[in-house]
């Protein structure tokens, strides 16, 4: 019997990037502290040694300059991967992201495509305060022209990264810092999984049912997949059987899997690590209301209240949903 090799999410991501760089000379990586440092969240660990400074490029601290350079390189036929160190920094380069990267194919009447991957670290839970702890899932998913990917396990992260680099359109690949498996930022149980050594792709727009259940549908993504699974394990002891759906990509969004699940359970809890208003939770709830209102008996949203994420550990813990908050919401819809 073969016992699988297990990888952390960061190593699974790096393995996919390395495979793609070996297969295609047009693939390169640029970002702040991605070369000698290996990425502050280990997103490029070990790649410099194999590929050198021409293909693993440290850039000056101007997101506008290097994300714009990535857009241009992509339009000329290369396949850049550009890293925005924290998604919170998108503001200084948003024109390059949402007006250029996301719209140039449309604006050029299809005469150029922009096959780039924008990688970025998201999420809180480690006292990094309001400008370094956001996920901003809803912001990126709201604006047309970008695919948006949020892996929750090493297995998914590798397959989704292969698919992102091979995609001919811009992909925003958002990895949660707490899932990467870093020594100084320990991951929960769950994101480290068996990972095949060969390459494979996971198509966009297919949610994954991480746990099947009959009583309540819990829809979430990223770190909160694991918190929802923890909640589901506790609730199972009370006789409540949760189905946990990991969306995996926000654009395209697998509405069908969510709606089918609610038709089965009749009860919906949506869990998000983004702000509550104008975001993912509202989108999922309205999708189910549009398509299966007759099946929907009860609904709850669990998300960050519309406040900046606090630095103080106790206050951050208060606003970022925990497994106990998910359990409470599930009991409420029972």
């Amino acid at each position: 019997m073969t016992v699988d090799r297990e990888l952390t999410m960061s190593r699974a991501i790096v393995e996919a990037i390395g495979d793609e760089m070996r297969a295609d000379d047009e693939v390169f990586y640029m970002g702040e502290d991605v070369a000698d440092y290996g990425g502050i969240f280990d997103s490029t660990q070990g790649l410099l040694e194999e590929f050198g400074y021409d293909r693993i490029m440290d850039v000056p601290i101007s997101e506008t300059a290097y994300l714009g350079a990535a857009v241009g390189a992509a339009q000329q036929g290369m396949r850049p991967i550009a890293e925005l160190m924290f998604v919170d920094f998108f503001g200084v380069a948003m024109d390059q992201i949402y007006n250029q990267m996301a719209k140039n194919t449309y604006m050029s009447g299809g005469s150029v495509s922009v096959p780039m991957t924008l990688t970025t670290a998201v999420g809180g839970t480690y006292s990094d305060a309001a400008q370094h702890s956001q996920t901003l899932y809803g912001t990126f998913a709201h604006l047309p022209g970008m695919k948006v990917v949020v892996p929750s396990t090493a297995y998914d992260a590798k397959g989704l990264m292969h698919n992102a680099i091979r995609d001919d359109d811009p992909v925003v690949y958002m990895y949660h810092k707490r899932l990467m498996g870093l020594g100084w930022l320990p991951a929960p149980e769950g994101p480290k999984t068996p990972v095949p050594e060969e390459d494979y792709t996971i198509p966009f727009g297919r949610a994954d049912v991480k746990r099947e259940g009959a009583d309540v549908t819990v829809v979430t993504l990223g770190l909160h997949v694991h918190r929802a699974l923890d909640a589901a394990a506790s609730l199972a002891e009370e006789g409540i059987d949760c189905e946990v759906i990991d969306l995996r990509t926000l654009v395209p969004l697998d509405r069908e899997t969510v709606v089918d699940s609610v038709r089965k359970t009749g009860r919906l809890v949506v869990v998000d690590e983004d702000y509550r208003s104008f975001g993912l939770t509202g989108e999922i709830v309205s999708t189910v209301a549009d398509e299966a209102l007759d099946a929907l008996e009860a609904v709850e949203r669990v998300a960050i209240p519309d406040v900046p994420i606090p630095y103080a550990r106790e206050l951050e813990t208060e606003v970022v949903p925990e497994a106990a908050d998910i359990e409470t919401a599930v009991r409420t819809v029972q």
């Binding site: 019997m1 073969t2 016992v3 699988d4 090799r5 297990e6 990888l7 952390t8 190593r11 498996g181 870093l182 020594g183 100084w184 320990p186 480290k192």
Partner: protein
């Protein structure tokens, strides 16, 4: 004795002389007991003085025992696991 004695996976390497700290912590295991590994394959990641280092398999063999699990501390030079070499 046969050549089949178990081989220790020891928390030491080229980095050993570069650290002042004697204590480290196991961060990640990449193999479970029962996995057949190749010499040079990363078995686990350890952290000493806030720096992460991989320990690799010293020989081809089966991982038969993990002595220090994730989050457990060790002293530089400790045995963290045992391999049963392949014939």
């Amino acid at each position: 004795m046969s050549g089949n004695d178990r081989v220790p996976v020891v928390a030491e390497g080229a980095w050993t002389d570069d650290v002042d700290e004697e204590e480290g912590v196991v961060v990640n295991w990449f193999a479970n007991v029962g996995r057949h590994v190749a010499a040079g394959e990363s078995l686990c990641e350890i952290q000493v003085e806030k720096v992460s280092v991989d320990l690799t398999a010293p020989v081809d063999g089966e991982l038969v025992e993990i002595v220090r699990d994730e989050d457990e501390a060790f002293t530089v030079g400790d045995t963290l696991a045992w391999l049963q070499p392949e014939e």
